[in-house]
Amino acid sequence: MARVGVFVCYCGANIADFIDVPAVVEEAKKIKEVKISVLYKYMCSDPGQGMIRDAIVQNRLTSVVVAACSPRMHEKTFRKALSDAGMNPYMLEVANIREHSSWVHQKDKKAATEKANDLIRMAIAKSIANEQLHEISVPVTKRALVIGGGIAGIQAALDIADARIPVTLVEKSPSIGGRMAQLDETFPTLDCSQCILTPKMVDVASHPYIELIPYSEVIELDGYVGNYKAKIKKKASYVDFSSCTGCGACTQKCPVKVPNEFNMNIDKRKAIYTPFPQAVPNKPVIDATHCTMLLKGKCGICAKVCEKGSINFKMVDEVIEREVGAVVIATGYDLWDPKPYEEYGVGRYKDIITSLEFERMVSASGPTNGVPIRPSDGKVPKNVVFIKCIGSRDEAKGIEYCSKICCMYTAKHAILLHHKVHDSHAYIFYMDIRAAGKGYEEFVKRAQVETAATYLRGRVSKIYKKGDKLMVRGEDAQIGQVVEVEADLVVLATAVIAPKDNPSLARLLGVSYDKYGYMSEAHPKLRPVETAKAGIFLAGCTQAPKDIPDTVAQASACAAKVCGLFAGDTLKKDPMVSTINNEFCSGCQNCVKVCPYQAIVTEEIPLGHGSKELRTVAKINEGVCQGCGSCVAICRSMAINLAGFTDPQIINEIVAI
């Protein structure tokens, strides 16, 4: 005879305010298997768990029902309480009377109480049919896959590799470095971005535990935590990296010039190119969309000048496989296209540029050798207007969120402008100044005081051309007047957005993403690094806009998570997996087809006892099975059962209501 204990939680006021908790406790007592039914303010607290432990021993309970919050929240906590009291932890059932009742039925206490009663009755009935289950151990492949070679991916890869765990770093473009490589100096200390980044890039290339795969993309990920199998497509670079010395003769001689995306298309690069001088690996690739040899079969100059014979026009995309135990997503960000700001004349006036274009101009290694110029006539600008929140915090034209970094980099731009052009003046139109961070407010003050940048609080309504100047008309809300500023150059602080490939990558990896295309974390506060899929972690702007310190911190956090995951030789796994009853299996293999995890294979078993003839039946790989139950539903012969959700358990639940 089952002996069930029912433990009802107030959850402070969360449950008790909307559900008549004492009545619920009394109701549970009416069920004959229930030997004890009690309530407590916070069941998850140590005294609360103590109540459960004591009751298990004193009442010789066979199963436990906790009526509280979602099992996602505290199932593990209560399972531990059970095992501490010597009971199999899987004899626990959680009745979710918070998310499923009190929170959603706040206006009707009576109905909420009734629903709570039903939920508890179901949990009691199910727990009576619970069976003792035991955790499954699965082996771990101790190799991490890092997707994206920006500062987030670099930091994560280095930290993981420093723990002597092999890392495969996959980068889409020909070189690692990402957005940070494009920056000139970094706030709030104005240290040179390249100077602090390139040593790390070199470390990645030379680290014995890092395998760098540039110019490639992840196209498939199968498996499960600890045992993922990734397919990586190496795009054809038409250059044999093993023999190429990176001498640069080919890029010099190449006659095809195309806009240079690394320099925000301000200057030109060749069809065979290294993105920037400090690129890692410092080997060129051929841009197949522009190379005349690949397009028309004429030219081949690069092949002629290459002393090593490294150019191979017949190279094709190659798909390689890597077995990894964990994945870090670090795909970075894109910038919002300000085209919708038609009233500013975006696209019509050449002297309106974006912040990253400005950043490339002031970079010493940039297309203008560190001198900002007007794209229209090449003159050095004197009056520069910076406009913040272009696309950010703009529900009408852009996105709702704050891009977080624009306030700071605009202050930095004002300072850099002053450094490069001493007699210049910066005007900054802003909505707020968001400078929360170590040394950030001081940095903004520095822009305001030291460089005497004029901060104008208000939105710009119009930009029009007057002679060769741009007239910026906006509001100065602090004096309540319309102001007009005569500008040589206008710089738009465009919003940070998720890379457009993020949703397709998220689907491929099986993680969730939000409406903006950012990857979703498992919990916004307590699990900000993990995704909901075990073994896949997030670093940097792939999750939300972040500055460099936050990105690096999160990347190191990812590394800590990966190291934690790989600390043992095996991983513990919930035993909620499917089992096949061979006697009933007819071998139709529908389960093989519907399994989303490729956890089901077939095996040949003797037709009868001692028979030499064989028949085919399905077989579950319990290490791979995630307990989704698809196979259970599809099986016509009811040969499959899911541990923890067996037919008797489900039927009991249904009968109970």
Partner: protein, 283 residues
């Protein structure tokens, strides 16, 4: 339609070349002009093989028993039978190399009254879709016609439909002949018979029969090929096609005009998922 001679020739050839262990065809019934399935292993019995418009049964069903399952079998299939066979092949019940399929381009078979059978009038695919050898001239796929009885069923109010079916199926004696006659009911042990199962109730009552038949029809939804072997086998003459044709028409309408067993490796509408699948109906 009389292909008896051709089938006898093929059967002789197959036995002579030692390509098969068994041959499944039809023979004349001794007492009337109907035919019965005929499973032979001895070439001497070949002259008794016939095929006419009285060859009504779905012989794919004879690949189910243990004694033919792993043997090499020669088999005569009409259009509908071949679709069932196709599903059996897809669902790994039969190995393709173990069967020699004689496909018929069927002109329709007769019912007990000697009229053309209803399912043959509404037949979408009279030619065999899978075969090693074809007899007759293919006429190709025909347009899907919604069964007349289903149109009538639609006129019965939803809330009265359960009573309607319960009334019809109250004559069921739970003999399971429908199950045994269906080539696609090949499970090692039917879910309804499992002692450990608490899901189904096996009582020989009208509600027990309803439950069993509804479950059965859902397990055949998207798979039933409308051969009506079950109806022919039913001693209580239940209109079992009502269940199957209802499912078929809903699936045809909602899942890109899906018809069971038309293509190899097609497991049926319930076994594939696409983002464009409608989710606004229930069977």
């Amino acid at each position: 339609m009389d292909h008896s001679k051709q089938i006898q020739d093929i059967a002789s050839k197959l036995f002579a070349e030692n390509k098969i262990d068994y041959f499944v065809g039809y023979r004349q019934n001794a007492i009337d002009d109907s035919q019965v399935p005929y499973l032979i292993s001895d070439p001497a019995e070949i002259p008794r093989l016939v095929f006419t418009d009285r060859s009504v049964f779905n012989l794919a069903n004879y690949l189910k028993p243990e004694h033919t399952r792993r043997k090499r079998v020669g088999l005569v299939v009409k259009g509908c039978d071949s679709r069932a066979l196709n599903l059996m092949l897809t669902e790994s019940q039969v190995k393709r190399e173990n069967v020699y399929i004689i496909g018929i381009c069927c002109e329709g078979v007769l019912n007990e009254k000697g009229e053309k059978a209803q399912n043959c009038i509404e037949c979408v695919m009279p030619d065999a879709v899978v075969y090693d050898e074809m007899i007759g001239t293919p006429t190709g796929k025909r347009e899907y016609i919604v069964n007349a009885d289903i149109k009538e069923l639609a006129t019965i109010a939803l809330e009265k439909r359960a009573d309607y079916f319960e009334d019809i199926f109250s004559n069921c004696i739970r003999c399971n002949a429908c199950r045994h006659s269906c080539p696609l009911c090949y499970c090692a042990k039917c879910c309804i018979d499992q002692e450990t199962s608490t899901l189904y109730h096996g009582a020989n009552t009208s509600s027990g029969a309803m439950h069993a038949l509804m479950t059965w029809s859902l397990h055949l939804a998207g798979r039933c090929v409308d051969c009506r072997n079950c109806e022919k086998a039913c001693p209580s003459h239940l209109p079992l096609h009502l269940l199957h044709k209802q499912n078929e028409s809903v699936i045809y309408e909602n899942f890109q005009q899906h018809l069971a067993g038309m293509e190899k490796d097609d497991r049926g509408a319930f076994y594939k998922y696409s983002l464009s699948d409608p989710d606004d109906f229930i069977l």
